[in-house]
């Protein structure tokens, strides 16, 4: 195999790891979302509560997924890591949803 071919393979490998510019873009988006979240604090008297809860929850989830997918490389790594992490997450959500139901935190009676 020629050196050119090896270089091409190395370049192909680099595709698995985004460039620094890409990480900067992700960080900028995260900062923008965070700024929007913080902004809700200053306008919460003039915005319906349901809208605040909804928008904050959606932004929180998007930020969580973006950090996990791009900064933690879950998007690029073997799916087994994804299964482990999401498995723990789903287990936690399941267990504590039951916990909330047991303590009637949702006010269902």
């Amino acid at each position: 195999m020629t050196d050119t071919a090896v270089d091409a393979a190395v370049d192909a490998h680099d595709d698995h790891h985004p460039s620094d510019l890409f990480y900067l873009k992700i960080a900028a988006i995260l900062a923008l979302f965070t700024a929007f979240e913080v902004g809700t604090y200053f306008v919460e008297d003039s915005v319906p509560r349901w809208f605040l809860f909804l928008s904050l929850t959606v932004l929180m989830i998007i930020k969580f997924v973006m950090v996990a997918a791009y900064f933690m490389h879950l998007k690029y790594d073997t799916p087994w890591f994804r299964y482990l992490f999401i498995g723990g997450l789903v287990l936690a959500i399941g267990v504590y949803t039951i916990f909330f139901l047991a303590f009637d935190l949702f006010g269902l009676g």
């Binding site: 393979a9 995260l30 979240e37 929180m60 950090v67 996990a68 900064f71 992490f85 723990g88 936690a92």
Partner: protein, 246 residues
């Protein structure tokens, strides 16, 4: 031999099961052998990374428990606020962000927001440190690693200041059940950040001693995974504890 050289150079991720099933037995054996050489494991997956991900999965349960406990007891803030300043403003319930002597509760959202931006920024510097060591750009790696540790330290300093302010306003760990839940949750997170700082400094020292270079970039990646996890947990805490309206 050339194939092996290429594999070591590219560090190609393990083939998916579907790809393995499509391969002939000879190709599959060759692939498994190559990845075994790469990571020294029969699965082709790094045991260290696998262990870190399993640990992070279990951490989801730990922080899930702490956040759930906080949500369960957050309404018990009223006991504290009633002692401090027994009034309601505009018919709103008194909470961490309303009531108290100045009517603004104990939380200082603008201050905590700056801390959040700092921690978020540290995730960027962490990933840049990993990127740098993979490219063998060691000076950049050292700068980004130390920057990440410094940003984490600023976050911790901010948290200590915040806790001191809360105690001065009358909310301590044992003031009421809200205080216990709040300090346990944010305190545990702070301890995780502190451990992350120690890990970053250890990484830096190992590199200075010549024991960490681009061949062992996975060590930095594992430290980075922990650091980013601490960041995603803060994303949840910041929204649920500080930003959700009372």
């Amino acid at each position: 031999m050339q194939t092996l050289r290429l594999m070591l150079l590219t560090k190609e991720p393990p083939l998916a099961d579907s790809k393995l099933s499509e391969a002939t037995p000879a190709e599959a054996t060759e692939t498994v052998t190559e990845h075994t050489v790469e990571h020294g494991t029969t699965t082709g997956i790094s045991n260290n990374k696998l262990l870190m991900w399993a640990f992070l999965g279990s951490e989801c349960l730990l922080f899930g428990a702490l956040i759930s406990t906080y949500l369960l007891y957050k309404e018990r803030f009223n006991d504290f606020a009633a002692n401090l300043a027994p009034f309601e403003q505009d018919g709103r319930n008194i909470g961490p962000r309303f009531g108290g002597e100045d009517g603004e509760g104990v939380f200082d959202i603008p201050f905590t927001s700056i801390s959040s931006f700092i921690l978020l920024g540290s995730s960027l510097t962490m990933v840049l440190a990993l990127s740098a060591i993979r490219r063998s750009e060691y000076r950049s790696f050292r700068i980004w690693t130390l920057t990440t540790a410094a940003l984490g330290s600023v976050f911790i300093a901010g948290q200590i200041y915040e806790f001191t302010e809360f105690v001065e306003k009358g909310l301590g760990y044992s003031t009421n059940i809200f205080g216990s839940a709040f300090f346990t949750l944010t305190g545990f997170h702070g301890v995780h950040v502190s451990i992350g700082i120690v890990m970053l400094l250890a990484t830096y020292i190992m590199h200075k001693q010549g024991r960490l270079n681009s061949d062992k970039a996975e060590t930095v990646e594992i430290v980075g995974l922990y650091w980013h996890f601490v960041d995603v947990v803060w994303i949840l805490i910041f929204t649920i504890v500080y930003l959700f309206p009372q």
